[in-house]
Symmetry: C2
């Protein structure tokens, strides 16, 4: 093992440079790169340039900000440009393996008034809790900048990076990774030629104690149902009871989607789900998880299942439907007596093997239109897909996963759990298929980081150990006989 | 009739002073006095002071800004002060009748991005359409300032005001008139002692052509249903399918309230509604209205009824239930894959004779709790009344209404229609009961003014003729033998 332990010096440098790395993360966090908010698009682009500048300083070469054209409808501004994908490479030694690291620099929306303890785009170093709190700390600016810090730590330690590193950092992950799939297809024999492995650090441990390697993801199909009628919002005193209200129709349509036990009521969805196998059922038994951990993560006792196996299956291998909200209706505190003229209900379905995305969309759209038709309303209804991302399942015992398992033992002193994820990283499957490589999901953060929620955080120890894990993984993978 | 025609000179002055009156209205409009927005409360108070200053300039006496204490829950700031009620009197001649004029200086929320053609709090004089466009132009800043202009026009014309005028201008009408009822009770034998008649100009013509006098109003009970569970918003990938989602429960509960044909599904509500009488059925026949007028006003063909009588009955004498929106859920454009932890559904019921408000609230709250219980959800549900305002029906042939009918003939050359309103002015009934006086609703604006909607407007001709109507009404009522 002695030959690999060159990374011990890198570990020391990661510890030493921690304050500088947190400072760099803080600067990246300060740019509110919310990809779903059209008005913030210039800030998303600004963050891409910020990263490109930093890559340049570190000595990355062939840095390209790949433009992806205009964003397809539905958008307010038909000329809205997609944020660029940041490509860069570090090292070009034909004797070394080529590892592509993917991350996304865009983030979920966040506002102080949502209930954050501090401004979401100002990184707070909470010394008491030993966490870094900010939107993007864990999802995914922290892990993304982690790769850059790993390179810097190698330089500072005077240790050669054992692989050629290629970055692929996108700015639309939280909004369906628009344009990325096409870019990967276009660059597979160009920029990405010769890539041996893809590593994505954009998910979380299952719980809060044990590191994991992840070999499966659910997909996500996001839908909206638009119901409109009146030419403008109306006074409910003057018009209540004499015109058909779009919001009433929408509530009726949305009430046919899913019940309070989480059962999807859209006919045909369950029939597409792969049957459980015995081998698969064995896998759940050894995993460290319990309903108490779920309750701690949700901050409540709202679990729909109490058995560990049921919880993991419904998170990983069964679909779910969430209703996210309504655009166009009253949403503030207090009372507003208006009949909204046009309302847009938003919901998503987490997909699993063997759901076909296109077939699902057809079933969902048909279901919504049929449910609306039953209402016999003079309003108009349109259901549509906003974006979809496929599910993914991989082999957890290939060279990459073995390298990451060894690295985990070195850094954390334990064997990792092998998990799947309820969330989606739509592009995982695309990398695998287009580049014909293995993809590894190597999470940095914990299950209670609150990605997409208020007070998103990354434990300082996860930030530091996560970078060490990245470094050790690269070294172990470099010396693996397999590709 | 010669004795009353002193107001001809007043009419001339109203025409002459039109630009000045529009200028004054513009200044009042510029203060965004949105009573439902806690953060704008200082601006509501600012508008009260603006009006008090103007009353002082006009020579009103005994001007008092009546403080009403803190706003009761639900509020964010437990120390939030209610905006003051502006009391003032003009004239104190015991030989004259005492007329109390009521108006409200607060307005509904409005934002440019809701779809307004111009900034909602900047008055636009649209010369082409001959309208004044701004939030509050018609509801109710235009009519309220109209009373002040009538006094100024009398002064300019050298004509004595034929009555003693008492103002009662409130700043919480759009949020349930909190504190006003108590104030009227407290002042009935003090500031309001000797009031002979109350005139409220805070509603609209039925259509766009014919002036009306209004003798009935629906009430409004506004409710919210809060469903909460998780300790914070959650990622739908990680938690979708394994925890009970408050938004799913809320949609299910709200779907039991009303159907797409406007039928209220809450048991016991219809049973409280007064039966139709033959005399009443006669009344609808002569009124100038049609489904085409409703369609024009709603800007759509979304009418639930085509017969004039059915439309008027369902606007005036049957209850309706509108679902206004959801607080706490995602409401923006695009996609956000979050499970909201706490959602608050908002809906209101327009009430009519003989619905008892307290009994209705009991029925509604019980219904929501029962509907939620059926869901068997581990979340928590609380339904509650935010505010209520009673319905009101009066005698359309008393002295006040006769004076207003004569004035209408003078100004518009036609007999007014006698209407009821679907909307509510909760305080009408309180004035009638507490001051033991008749209340007249004397609308200034038209049915298509878009109160509570985008691009609210007041026709310039309605502004000018409305002030003349106010003036003539005061003169006719002053000389009426009855009180």
């Amino acid at each position: 093992m002695s030959s690999t332990r060159a990374f011990d010096k890198v570990f020391t440098k990661i510890d030493e440079l921690k304050p500088e790395f947190i400072g760099m993360l803080s600067k990246a966090i300060a740019i509110p790169a919310v990809s779903s908010d059209e008005s913030l698009r210039p800030r998303v682009v600004e963050k891409a340039h910020f990263l490109a500048d930093h890559l340049k300083k570190l000595g990355f070469a062939d840095i390209q900000l790949k433009e992806l054209g205009t964003q397809p409808p539905p958008v307010s501004d038909p000329n809205l440009q997609l944020p660029p994908i940041v490509l860069a490479r570090y090292g070009n030694d034909p004797a070394k393996k080529n590892v592509l690291v993917y991350g996304h620099y865009d983030v979920q929306p966040a506002k102080l008034e949502d209930g954050w303890d501090s401004e979401p785009f100002e990184l707070v170093v909470d010394e008491k809790k030993q966490v870094l709190r900010a939107r993007g700390s864990s999802d995914d600016t922290g892990p993304l900048t982690g790769w850059l810090h790993v390179v810097q730590a190698h330089q500072a330690a005077g240790v050669e990076l054992p692989v050629n590193l290629i970055t692929c950092f996108e700015g639309m992950e939280e909004s369906g990774s628009l344009g990325l799939e096409e870019l990967i297809g276009a660059e597979k024999d160009k920029y990405f030629k010769g890539v041996d492995a893809v590593c994505i650090s954009d998910n979380y441990w299952l719980g809060t104690r044990k590191p994991v390697l992840t070999y499966g993801l659910r997909g996500c199909n996001y839908y909206q149902v638009t119901i409109e009628g009146p030419g403008a919002d109306l006074h409910s005193g003057m018009f209540g009871g004499i015109i058909a209200e779009p919001m009433i129709d929408l509530v009726q349509v949305m009430s046919t989607l899913v019940d309070s036990q989480g059962k999807i009521l859209i006919e045909g969805v369950d029939a597409m789900v792969a049957k459980e196998t015995e081998k698969e059922q064995e896998l759940y038994k050894t995993i460290d998880f319990s309903v108490e951990e779920l309750n701690a993560a949700s901050g409540s006792e709202t679990a729909l299942y109490t058995k560990k196996e049921d919880i993991l299956k419904h998170r990983w291998r069964y679909p779910s439907l969430s209703i996210h909200g309504v655009e166009g209706a009253f949403y503030s505190q207090g009372a507003k007596t208006v009949i909204p003229a046009k309302v847009i209900g938003k919901f998503s379905i987490r997909t699993v093997p063997d759901i076909d995305s296109e077939k699902l969309t057809q079933i969902v759209v048909d279901h919504c239109h049929a449910a609306f038709k039953k209402l016999n309303s003079p309003n108009r209804c349109k259901a549509e897909l906003i974006h979809d991302g496929n599910y993914w399942v991989s082999d957890p015992f290939n060279a990459q996963f073995q390298a990451a398992a060894k690295a985990t033992k070195d850094v954390y002193g334990v064997e990792p759990d092998y998990t799947r994820e309820g969330g989606s990283i739509p592009i995982t499957l695309t990398f695998e298929e287009q580049l014909k490589t293995s993809v590894l999901l190597l999470p940095m953060g914990r299950g209670d980081d609150g990605a997409h929620s208020i007070n998103e955080k990354l434990d300082i120890s996860n930030f530091v150990n996560g970078m060490k894990l990245m470094a050790a993984y690269l070294h172990y993978y470099a010396e693996s006989p397999e590709k």
